[in-house]
Amino acid sequence: MRLELIKRSAPAPSMRILSPLLGLFLALIAGAIMFSALGKAPDRALYAFFIEPVSEMWSVHELLIKAAPLILMGAGLCICFQSNNWNIGAEGQMIVGAIFGAALPILLPDVQNFLILPLMLIFGILGGMLYGFIPALLKAKFKTNEILTSLMLVYVAQMLLDWIVRGPWRNPEGMNFPESRRFHEWARIPEMIPADGRANWGFVIAIIVAVALGIMLAKSLKGFEVKVIGTSPKAAQFAGFDRQKMIFFAFLLAGGCAGLAGIIEVAGATGQLRPTVSPGYGFTAIIVAYLGRLNPIGAIVAGLVLALTYLGGEAAQISLGLSDKIARVFQGLILFFVLACDTLILYKIRLTFGAAHKGAA
């Protein structure tokens, strides 16, 4: 049996929408098989993984907490990837954003007024941008591969955070635990509906940013420039679009989004700096971008879906006695199947049996 790809005369727009749905569906089937292999009834396991976490109000709030950084970073990466800049260091940019933003309440604990929170958010964005600036500069000036440098910087950021939390910023009244002092009330992002759950306004910020980026991409000249540079570098050159400038634009934008996600995470849900601020949200955001069709609006939906996999992992651990590592397997499977289904946008697939027909059709 052979598999042949036959190029469509034009990309199929319907497939662009159908492919992520088909991909999710296939990932669910693969998940069901995996659960059976682990000795669990697949229907009950899938229910526990994907439905139970959103059947109660408080856990819907948890979903929004997890979705906020995924949507923010996913939306930023959409623009980055569309312009052909492969920033895979969002995790590091998120960490540095968290450190920059957290500097204010940690170093100036006595400054307590309404200005502190907006300043923290701005610092977070700046931190992420600064860290995104490094691979951009190396790519623009020295043509250094941005995939490798941005990824290496993730490890460096993780070590920086670990050092700062265990060393200079350790809570003086914290019984020697590796964590910073707790942020005061003014430095926390308020919860939206405290009676129902913990979700904070960070989720709303994420939605606003994603929608704004979506509009920019669809309606503005800059958005057009992003798409042209990504799909046809030659045409971009004729149009006078500057690829060098686009490198900086894309990395600073994605870095800023990641930095904002970082400070929202620590000023929202955690309320202090700890040796880890993210369970790999920066890498999951890559999946969000792809599942969302590299479209910031799509990233909102995709961010919610992937946030659900994190919750599902926790649920599977509690109610099924499975490992929460399953969440990461699911995340990988989703990206995998979506990429496979994306082939259908450009190609039709034909299976041929028996010997190959050379020169046929």
């Binding site: 490798l148 290496m152 070590m159 890498f283 999951t284 490992s323 590592k325 990206l335 995998f336 190609y347």
Partner: protein
């Protein structure tokens, strides 16, 4: 055994997994395919090698399992990027995410268990020669495989017809196809070879370097291996040099930590990654060498028209 020998031996042990993974990826990239999933294949090899060695009690079967798991993981990548012409960068990343997740799931029950170590070579007389003895005749078996791989791959790529064909596919898959060369078959085999190497490199980690299973135990080595291929500008001998350079950096930082040098341990841990960035920047300065050796089709999918 003296101090110098001990340090040189640990450098070789640290360099071996980097070398093996990088030499595999070099062949993959020479065929025009960019597989960013080295980390994922490597960690699958590590868990597979450890689990199978523990269950069978035989580290050699563990090594075979590590290779087999690396190949299996690479086949997922090959199917997507070669048969379905999917985006290679994104697929490689998904392979890494999937590998890290699946390996922690598979290895969960084995965390903290003592592993089976692959013993070092011990030849009578020869291994006892001072300095040279332990270095040349007293290392772990995978070390010798790694050296053989460098020589073998060099010979294959630059001295055989199949190697020339592979490189020509990497440089222009359209012309290769027009000449009747089965582009996709060559690429499948190259990716599988890369998977086998990454799996073996992972097996080295969990069966020789630190005979135990720790979640994410590859700790970025797959990515360093990818950087090594660029650093080596796709030449096998330079991969060897690069791997030993990085082995030396990582061992150096361990020794510095042990000596309690007044630098935060986190900075030392970050050192290999910082070094990688610096080296990548330096090497990208040399535009000519890079242009000559970079496979022109790197990362581009190929769909034969019929």
């Amino acid at each position: 055994m003296g101090m110098t020998e001990a340090i040189l031996l640990t450098i070789a042990t640290a360099a071996t997994p980097l070398l093996i993974a990088a030499i595999g990826e070099l062949v993959v990239e020479r065929s025009g395919v960019l597989n960013l999933g080295v980390e994922g294949m490597m960690v699958m090899g590590a868990v597979g090698g450890f689990v199978v060695a523990s269950l069978t009690g035989n580290p050699w079967i563990g090594v075979l399992a590590a290779i087999a798991l690396g190949v299996l993981t690479s086949l997922l990548f090959a199917f997507l990027t070669i048969s379905l012409a999917a985006n290679q960068v994104a697929t490689g990343l998904s392979l890494t995410i999937l590998g890290l997740g699946a390996s922690s799931l598979m290895g969960e029950k084995f965390v903290g268990q003592a592993g089976k170590k692959l013993g070092n070579l011990d030849l009578p007389v020869l291994s006892d020669i001072p300095l040279i003895g332990p270095l040349i005749f007293g290392q772990d078996p995978i070390f010798y495989i790694s050296i053989a791989l460098v020589i073998g791959v060099s010979w294959f790529l630059f001295r055989t017809r199949a190697g020339l064909t592979l490189r020509s596919i990497g440089n222009n898959h359209h012309s290769a196809h027009a000449l009747g060369i089965p582009v996709l078959r060559y690429r499948y085999l190259a990716v599988m070879f890369g998977g086998a190497c990454a799996g073996l490199a992972g097996g080295h980690l969990s069966l020789v370097y630190t005979p135990q299973w720790v979640e994410n135990m590859t700790a970025g080595r797959g990515w360093i291996a990818l950087a090594l291929v660029v650093f080596a500008s796709w030449r096998p001998a330079r991969v060897l040099a690069g791997a030993y350079l990085f082995g030396a950096v990582s061992i150096g930082q361990l020794h510095a930590q042990a000596l309690g040098i007044a630098v935060p341990s986190q900075l030392l841990t970050a050192l290999p990654f910082l070094a990688t960035i610096v080296v990548l920047v330096l090497i990208s300065q040399n535009v000519r060498a890079t242009l000559i050796n970079t496979p022109a089709m790197l990362g581009r999918p190929f769909v034969p028209d019929r």
